[in-house]
Symmetry: D2
Subunit: 375 residues, 4 copies
């Protein structure tokens, strides 16, 4: 399976093609739209999210709500394209307007201009924008549907916002059912404190980020590989998280904490229960030797604060070469709640790819049967 | 460029093929052997490292010390294969001996047996072993040679061992020149404290890990991509680190710390100096929008303690199904110094791949010229 | 560069995403539409071609007629989707109608049903249909634009139809300028004879195919590789031709004729003219040792007769298991003229991929400069 | 599964790594050596083949004759390396000797020098040489072992030599059992005539080629894809054949002949026999819609005459720029018998890759079970 995304932030829309899905997979547009809505929600989001109320349109690969085995094309059309057509149209448009030359720190603007040429960062930011993730969330929802038919579930929550951290341990069920709407945290008091931080940022024209914890339940052991370094499950899943805009770190299980502990405090002893191998603890986060071990997969990622500050940041005007303040292209203060949804989606896409590589299979009957037969 | 590794821990040796290297690249066996020696050094290593004094043998792709443009095959033959031939030979051997059935926590043993079948974890651990990295270090040394011809250097050091952390900031030159031999740290006192921790582990039959910081100097901007999520430089480089055995987390720049700070404390303001764009700070670790930005690349990785404890860990005998203590296959207490070398190599391999994708080029003259022309 | 296509014959349309194109490439919709029109033209085509007058729509990756360096999404919407929506809609439709169960010899119907499940070959043929090539022709036109900026041109003609063969040798210019509109042949008398054959097929409810010859002019030497079997230029270009529906054979230069000749009659002697290496003959078709050698690339492909015959073919009803006559889903008698256009496009796509792998480059300025510097 | 080859003609040897093989696959060195011997046999071969009596050595991935699931490394060491070490050694050698500057028509020499630089075609021909196929034959033998465990067999024969063609149709069994030793043809009289042609070439200092027909028996339907053009079975298998040195054309079923026939003469009508779908004829060569259809796969390839003629060919000295006669590096007159073995191997490798992509599976038990369950 391979997912290819395309589309610009203010272009006609965002698009993706999912190759290699089996036939007979049920595709539920309402589920996809619900995921798209979750991506747009969250305390601290700006005006743009109100304009856009994303809906998926399936352009190919699905007939009467089931996949055909042919490539699935998903589209999330930009509602406000009509307002941008004059400046973005492929066939011809006014590129003198809507220019951005005060390259913004923390964005792709400067490196992008040096790489792709020209002097209008509009041509860079339109694709580099996290708007790209809209269609990855749509694809992730399809992948999630496949995983759920195998009994594999994904859940996540916001663990920390701007330093307000929830140190508690939660069960998969607590995470799946307990996620609070505004910010995706699990503890009401901590979330209230986090929202105060966000309010403070809004007042001071600043921004903030946070950390997200993700879990995968029901994945059998043996996904990934201990034989080829390129196929290590931890490397592939973390790479998926790090491919999401603004993510600066990823870890598995207790992650960086392992570095400070003794082996006897880190490794998970094995026992057998009803013929099934289990671990007494799960500090490994469900991955040993580059493979799933049957326990819950636990991943954590860190999101940096949104790089566009209302207060502006010092930079250079790419055209005049003079010092300048970076313009604020959009006004989110904190997108951690959306980021959590996006990370769940990126994880679903990567995991689905790993699962189908191992199972092969042309249709869901085969895929489910093969998964069922795994030890 | 693509690197494929092969080989078992007690088999004939470790092997790799590097496809897609340009011709005319100077390959220095002594440099490779020096890297292999560094990989085997370090306080806290066990007896095995003494047995093996690794030397590279070039089997193809190089003539008179220069690459031909054909695939380069590297071999690191196992010195003690003669002692293992009777139990490992491909053509036929005694598999009743040297069996391992008490599956070891923290290793690939259990998931591997369930995945690949049989009941002798020897068949799993032989490949899953970190011995595989010997040939990745050899390949990394070749890649490093290419990068150095472009003026791109890599350096790293051990930042923390078993909780003894060096919080200081160091320049690239300090790291490259200041690395202490025993453990790869930069501060003598902290290293002494770390070595005490390792001694304590040895006494108590325990193990420990640590963290490593890596830097890349001289890389121009624009490597990686803001256009395709699969090609984000941060995702690709961190995946390379996470593909190394025992690595449980990776971060870029200030990484996880970004989650607790405000945007104004995180993003690096841009200025221009002598026609060159620079950042006042480098919290981004040299990567913005999935691309290098011309500043130093800064990466950090966490290594878990070695999972084989002399004191043993509770587990199950895969054959009898009875409770057991995991056997100690080897006796390293801490391999963080080796891990640092391996991570430098994995980074060199991944970076070389990214660089050649952008530059193309069939021979080093072309590659250097193209790199020189980049902004 | 990578081209991913999607879409069903009677679905919303055909779609593709082109990843890895440099920025600053001029994209001319009129050229693309002209290519689409050529694909629909040709003596012997059926009613369907009249219904559909294909037009490309660029959904992403292009702004003001130049690529951004982001993935380019092309769409060719199906004009008659409104008539099919009730039977094809992704969100829900009537699958009881428009069923095809008399599996058609020469089509994917039977193997597809066994592979993907279900009992309605409609779910197979919708994607297997050569309608898929509409968007490959669109992509090919974009790739061709890039190649032309490097001075690389592609031309082709129909060499034989239903046994009426044009044995003459033609120059690149004769082919590019002399292509006759009705059938894409170069000789008026032979084309008239070929058209008679097609008329005969129409009368008898039969079909016919033919052969196509393709040429590439202006490609420098060294594209492809003699170092890696997977990258042999002949293998890659012929695979592109064979990936087109109904193609049963492909050859390079004098191809199969080489098998009957002596070495002294086959190989092209080398001489030097004005500092440039040339061949006295070009029986190798411009490819030696898996690489272009600077001479014209010459390829030939064989197209089988269209497998849907009005007279029908004996088969089995997949549902009832009874003997049946295959239904005629569409009524082309000969599509060789369209096939020639499609093969040019498939060749352009594959060649563009090979060219960009060697050149790398992020924008057209770089790409052109690098090509210009090649020997 | 992925096969990577390496090695030079007069270097230490030829090497390959096969990634992605399941565990528990029986690997029979004697079978591999038998295939290597067949590759070296055949009427019309030169002295080199006597020097080298190739034997495989398994360097990794196999223990006690069964695969471990880890990458399999195969080596075919060059017996006469000792005579070449002084001119080929990686660590340092005399490159002033054994130079080749009279670039040979039909070889990679000239394009290779322009691409990889330098002025000694020795650096090009060492890898471009068909000697590379030794290790592909070894890999092919391993892949064949896997296919045979699934009941999939491959056989081939030499259909024509220098214009002496065997027009008869043969059954799979006739081909498998009837192959004559000297030249790999099936008809004694025709082979005698072909050998006369080869004698004539030897006398006149000329060379010749021929055509090979390959068959695959026992492959179930549905391998390959009608959904993605890149995965069409015909394209992938023919590309494998065309990746073999000296192959200038490939076709499926009746191939190029389809172009001259009517649809009613080409397509294979379907019937059902004992619940199994069959074709009354097999002009499609077992592939419809880019997928296997359950009938025998039939492929044909054309080999050009060996480009090194004792009589020499006109060329240019790359160093002096003066006209010259190309030197004869080796003295085969006809290698069609070897080519047939190599093509069988290349086909086995490509087919094994396709099969494992569809089946997935970590060990042979799983792979066989999944294949058995396919319709």
């Amino acid at each position: 399976m391979r997912i290819t995304t395309a589309g610009e932030s203010h272009g006609k829309g965002l698009f993706c093609i999912i190759e290699g899905l089996p036939s007979q997979l049920f595709v539920d547009c309402e589920k996809i739209n619900a995921a798209l809505a979750r991506r747009q929600s969250g305390y601290g989001r700006g005006a743009r999210q109100k304009i856009e109320s994303d809906r998926v349109e399936i352009l190919s690969g699905v007939r009467n709500r089931y996949t055909l085995g042919s490539p699935v094309t998903l589209a999330v059309f930009n509602r406000d394209y009509s307002n941008w057509e004059a400046y973005m149209a492929a066939e011809g448009c006014d590129t003198a307007a809507r220019r951005l030359t005060k390259v913004r720190p923390g964005h792709a603007d400067l490196a992008g201009l040096l790489k792709y040429g020209g002097d209008d960062a509009r041509n860079i930011l339109e694709r580099a924008s996290a708007r790209e993730t809209a269609v990855r969330v749509a694809a992730g929802s399809v992948c999630r549907g496949l995983l759920e038919e195998l009994g594999v579930e994904i859940a996540g929550y916001v663990k920390a916002v701007a330093g307000v951290e929830d140190a508690a341990q939660y069960s998969f069920e607590q995470i799946r059912n307990g996620r609070l709407s505004e910010l995706g945290m699990l503890d009401t008091d901590l979330q209230r404190a986090a929202m105060k931080k966000i309010d403070f940022c809004k007042e001071t024209g600043d921004t903030c980020g946070g950390t997200v914890e993700l879990r995968v339940k029901g994945l059998k052991s043996g996904f990934g590989s201990c034989m080829t370094y390129r196929e290590k499950l931890d490397a592939r899943l973390c790479a998926a998280l790090l491919s999401v805009q603004a993510i600066k770190g990823a870890e598995v299980g207790i992650g960086f904490d392992t570095a400070a502990l003794f082996g006897s405090e880190v490794h998970d002893e094995i026992y057998k229960e009803g013929g099934v191998y289990r671990r007494k603890t799960n500090r490994a986060g469900g991955i040993e030797g580059g493979m799933s071990n049957g326990e819950e997969i636990i991943l954590r990622a860190a999101m940096k604060p949104i790089p566009t500050l209302m207060k502006g940041l010092g930079t250079i005007d790419y055209v005049t070469g003079e010092e300048a303040r970076a313009a604020a292209e959009r006004s989110d203060v904190c997108a951690i709640a959306a980021c959590e949804v996006i990370l769940e989606s990126a994880l679903a896409c990567a995991l689905c790819e790993v699962v189908l590589e191992r199972l092969g299979g042309d249709n869901m009957t085969e895929v489910k049967e093969r998964y069922g037969r795994l030890p």
